[in-house]
């Protein structure tokens, strides 16, 4: 079985999981779940945040690393840029957010690529620093109340009923898709994740590529931070919650293996939708929010076991096909 065929089947199986979850919800509570408002709320309002963060996480996982610092960097960048947005100084606000995000991305990127620290240790430390800074700078004072024009970023629509936030997410998705599928630079992510040594030996500037991935994650964190500001109408360091876990779970359940080198942002989209619909289903079924962490953890574990099982299945299928071919040749 060819690799691309396997990827397609894998993706379809993940879509099937999504459909099963939706079908279960539709059977249990059709009157609350099967409404246009619920769907548009979930897909256009809740999913974008998970997706944007999960895109970054997927990039990191594809290169064989992980980025735990994204949520904290997002909080710090949104907090630092909040005052500028409040005063209507949008360009400055965006510049600050992007600078903070990419700065921290550069830090973790350098630690991972040049210093060669295991990604989870490096980003864990950066996470600690960023969140600690956010709390120190915040010092219990929350910034709230933003101009309507800024709020329009999430509440308003530009093109025919699609909220801006969904539009931003789609643009990011398209850019990342083209980047990872069509450009030489983006294909480098996969080869680094698959075999970093061979990549370095074959003349790709692996260090710079890894570094740029983490910077890109910082940029994504900054974008998400700005959107969160506009959505919540407040800058508050305690919104971190389960964002990191959510994005890791989204990437893994979407079919990006933790070992790296495989999967695409399309997987992430499916994974993020699965996570968001599980959340939505729990809301509708009145499951207390305290359960959410457990559920996300179980999803990660399920994704691991499911991935391993699927790998076994593919192996068995391709073995059978090879046997058939051998028989036919005889």
């Amino acid at each position: 079985m060819s690799k691309s065929k396997k990827n397609v089947i894998d993706l379809l199986s993940r879509v099937l999981i999504l459909l099963i979850i939706m079908a279960v919800m539709a059977c249990l509570k059709p009157e609350a779940f099967l409404t246009a408002t619920n769907f548009s709320q979930v897909v256009f309002q809740q999913a974008p945040f998970t997706m944007l963060m999960a895109f970054g996480m997927s990039m990191a996982i594809i290169t064989g690393g992980i980025d735990i610092s994204m949520a904290s960097v997002m909080i710090l960048s949104s907090y630092l840029s909040a005052t500028s947005f409040q005063q209507g100084n949008y360009v400055l606000g965006v510049l600050i957010a992007v600078a903070v995000g990419m700065g921290f991305g550069l830090l973790s990127g350098l630690l991972v690529s040049k210093v060669n620290i295991a990604a989870f240790i490096a980003t864990y430390s950066v996470d600690f620093i960023a969140l600690g800074l956010a709390y120190v700078i915040c010092d219990g004072k929350y910034i709230y109340g933003f101009p309507d024009a800024f709020r329009g970023l999430t509440t308003g629509t530009l093109i025919g009923g699609i909220p801006n936030i969904a539009l931003v997410t789609f643009i990011v998705f398209a850019v990342l898709y083209v980047l990872t599928k069509k450009t030489r630079y983006g294909r480098g992510f996969y080869s680094i994740g698959f075999n970093p040594k061979a990549t370095k030996l074959s003349g790709i500037n692996a260090d710079w590529t890894i570094c740029s991935v983490y910077m890109m994650n910082g940029l994504l964190a900054a974008i998400t931070g700005i959107l969160f500001l506009s959505r919540l109408n407040a800058a508050d360091p305690s919104i971190k919650g389960t964002l990191t876990m959510d994005s890791i779970a989204a990437a893994l359940i979407g079919g990006i293996p933790f070992s790296g080198g495989e999967g695409s942002v399309l997987n992430t989209v499916v994974g993020a939708l699965i996570i968001v619909f599980i959340r939505n289903g729990m809301n509708i079924l009145n499951v207390p929010t305290t359960w959410s962490q457990t559920v996300v953890g179980l999803v990660i574990m399920f994704a691991l076991i499911y991935g391993a099982l699927m790998d076994k299945v593919y192996e068995a299928i391709s073995r059978k096909q090879n046997q058939k071919k051998a028989l036919a040749a005889e």
Partner: protein
């Protein structure tokens, strides 16, 4: 052959003493027997949690689930004592929970060869969630004579029983590390998994044991945390993971594993606690304290990795140098 008994105190102990002396001169109330005992008492829970982390790091892996097992154990003990269940049953149940989490981690990592980070991360979030669910998101207070004695009872000299208990657990773990096959195997697996496997060590079984021990030790930490505060909160353990990692690395067990040891970890933990005590005596605000220790810890972790790299490089250089000669 005559064997000399060697305690092998790691160099980090010197840093402990230097920092202690520094804070004794820098602040007024730091140097007193009361404060010294308090520092030791505050280190107790982190020492046991760090011992658990030491084992995982020793075999060049990490157990992220330590913190949330601590929270869950603390909440479990609080809930069960409030329900009127005998305290010994509550403690056994909590430890069994820890052992179960450790076993799940161990099976998934050692047997099924899943990535250790993502497995322990998922058990971490599952257990953190369960702590939230069973406690309902609130800190649960309780009253129990035995647990009060464990947490707050003192010897005539003012030394807390919890320090003695921790010392006993530490001594046992050091014995496991230095005198049993399992302890030796940990070092060899951390040094080189391939070599360990080729020399006949059952690597998966030893890995499994590491995570089992780690789960049990974290659960014991949770019980002690609950007994010291007479309460079990769903997030009491949330910072233990990072701090334990720091204590282990400061104590001289690098992330690559195979070196260092438990005794170093104990001194690493005490170093962190001396730092915390000293900073608060200097009148630095809690948020800043947290940030300062966070930055120090993060930079120490990074420095550790750099240092290990340098050692490897120098080692290679020596090998080539000898060959050229």
């Amino acid at each position: 052959m005559k064997r000399k008994f060697k305690l092998a105190i790691p160099g980090i102990a010197l840093f402990d003493i230097l920092l202690y002396i520094f804070f004794s001169f820098a602040t007024e109330n730091f140097f007193s027997s009361y404060n010294t005992i308090l520092i030791l008492r505050n280190s107790c829970t982190l020492v046991i949690a760090s011992l658990a982390m030491t084992m995982a790091i020793m075999v060049s892996q990490i157990d992220m689930s330590i913190g949330s097992v601590i929270s869950t154990a603390a909440v479990m003990v609080a809930l069960m004592v409030n329900k009127g269940i005998p305290v010994i049953v509550a403690i056994i149940a909590a430890v069994a929970m820890g052992a179960a989490v450790g076993a799940v981690n161990g099976i998934l990592i050692a047997k099924f060869k899943f990535d250790f980070w993502v497995v322990t991360f998922s058990t971490m979030s599952i257990m953190a969630g369960i702590a939230l669910v069973i406690s309902g998101g609130e800190t649960i207070g309780f009253q129990n004579e035995f647990l009060d004695w464990v947490g707050n009872g003192t010897l005539p000299g003012g030394i807390y029983w919890v320090i003695i208990i921790t010392a006993l657990i530490t001594a046992f773990m050091i014995w496991v590390e230095r005198k049993t096959n399992f302890g030796y195997n940990m070092f060899s697996i951390g040094g080189s998994e391939v070599v360990a496997k080729n020399s006949g060590i059952n690597v998966p079984l030893n890995r499994f044991k590491v995570y089992l021990f780690s789960g049990i030790l974290s659960a014991i930490t949770g019980v002690i945390v609950a007994s010291m505060t007479a309460a079990g909160g769903p997030t009491v353990g949330s910072e233990y993971g990072f701090n334990a990692m720091a204590a282990v690395v400061i104590g001289g067990t690098p992330f690559v594993g195979g070196k260092g040891g438990m005794l170093g970890t104990v001194f690493g933990t005490i170093l962190l606690k001396i730092l915390a005590s000293g900073l608060s005596m200097m009148g630095i605000e809690p948020t800043w304290q947290k940030a300062i220790t966070g930055v120090i810890i993060a930079s120490l972790i990074i420095i550790d990795v750099l240092n290990e790299k340098r050692k490897v490089k120098n080692g290679l250089r020596r090998v080539y140098h000898d060959v050229e000669k």
